[in-house]
Subunit: 241 residues, 2 copies
């Protein structure tokens, strides 16, 4: 089913444009299917080109296409947590999580296949790309916490929260994208606020971060709402104070 | 270097005993090395038998040995969170985490290789075994929370905490087993208490769990210590209340 317009377009693309077009086709296939369910033929068909042409640009075939698509998705993901360093911490986190969760929503099956392990396309190279995204996300969060030299406890805390966000994203996809994204995002913000506060109990650096961050939180923001909702629940445990 | 005593022992083992012996040898090799760094020859040498004998019991060679060793480790891991349903929640969690972290400590390199992805021995079968352990751990935690019909929010919360415990274990191995295990374990207990409390703010079922659990916490237990340490940190944010 080649339209008359397809052939001239086929001839006119430059090398770079063609590569970008093939990668775009691969990326959108890998976003919604596991790598085992995508073939070079699928990519050729989606791009409206021949199979040999795909191999001319990607001699490594599917694995090379997958890694290039992953590299491109990783670049996009790394930008999710980049955010101007102004305003309350929870407002910045909310915006970063909105971008991250929109990415998860758009790359649903591919995101699951990538992170659930055991995929045929998984290699030490793909694992390294995923690890780099996690490290970049942790670095960005530490910047938002205004910490220049994070100690081991604070670093571990941020990295475990990143792992929790990943796990929650996979569960969300597994549960047919329930609850609605804003509800999941608010809960993940509360999760980090709670984790920061609990870690502040035994780590002086984290305590300083919490004091600094709470001072800038608005009364109607997530930290205020969380505090006012938590107090009635824990107030019955007065024997612990 | 075969000792005179080795040959008779070699002949006297029953089929089941021999299988158990080979599996034991494989398990201790896979505990401390990545699967790519263990060969059938290594297993034969560790068990003091010939390479063909290993293949007679495990015709699938290394992959079969790896999956059998993993199955056996998974059974052990699933028992970590099983604990009598009496006493304060944090005391039960502390004991369960002590067992889990002792397992991580004993299976260091193998635990990392298994969970970090990209291993040559990783297949959909090994991934399924790991997922089963995670699910079993989550079930056990829900039993400790005395919840028979957990809603989606509480299930997601418990599963994200399990993911955080796994991430913290990998970071701990990566950082040369720092901090000391009791410190890591106490922080992971605080982490769950904080996560329960934050989730209680927006989920009625979790709020009931928190009320029930806190009522049984002793004043000198982890929840009491955490509450008394957190109050001075957050008390400066009076504008949020």
């Amino acid at each position: 089913m080649t339209s008359p317009a397809a052939t001239p377009a086929y001839r006119r693309l430059s090398v770079e444009e063609r590569r970008t077009q093939l990668l775009g086709a691969a990326l959108s296939l890998f976003a919604h299917r596991a790598p085992e369910d995508v073939s070079v033929d699928d990519v050729a068909e989606a791009a409206g080109v021949s199979r040999p042409l795909v191999y001319r640009y990607f001699p490594g075939g599917k694995q090379q296409l997958y890694e290039a698509a992953l590299r491109s998705a990783a670049d996009e993901l790394e930008l999710c947590f980049a955010e101007a360093q102004s305003g309350p911490l929870t407002r910045r986190l909310t915006r970063a999580l909105d971008r991250y969760l929109a990415f998860v929503d758009e790359h649903d099956a591919g995101f699951s296949a990538l992170l659930q392990g055991g995929s045929v396309a998984e290699t030490s190279r793909t694992t390294a790309i995923v690890d780099e995204v996690r490290r970049a996300a942790a670095e960005q969060i530490l910047v938002h916490l205004r910490v220049e030299q994070p100690g081991p406890r604070l670093r571990m805390m941020v990295r475990t929260w990143i792992a929790a966000v990943e796990a929650a994203s996979l569960i969300w996809l597994d549960e047919d994208k329930q609850p609605a994204l804003p509800e999941l995002r608010d809960w993940l913000v509360d999760h980090l606020v709670a984790l920061l506060t609990a870690t502040a109990a035994t780590d002086e650096q984290t305590a300083a971060v919490v004091r600094g961050a709470l001072a800038h939180e608005p009364v109607e923001g997530p930290a205020g709402v969380l505090a006012r909702r938590v107090i009635p629940v824990v107030s019955e445990a007065g024997h612990l104070l």
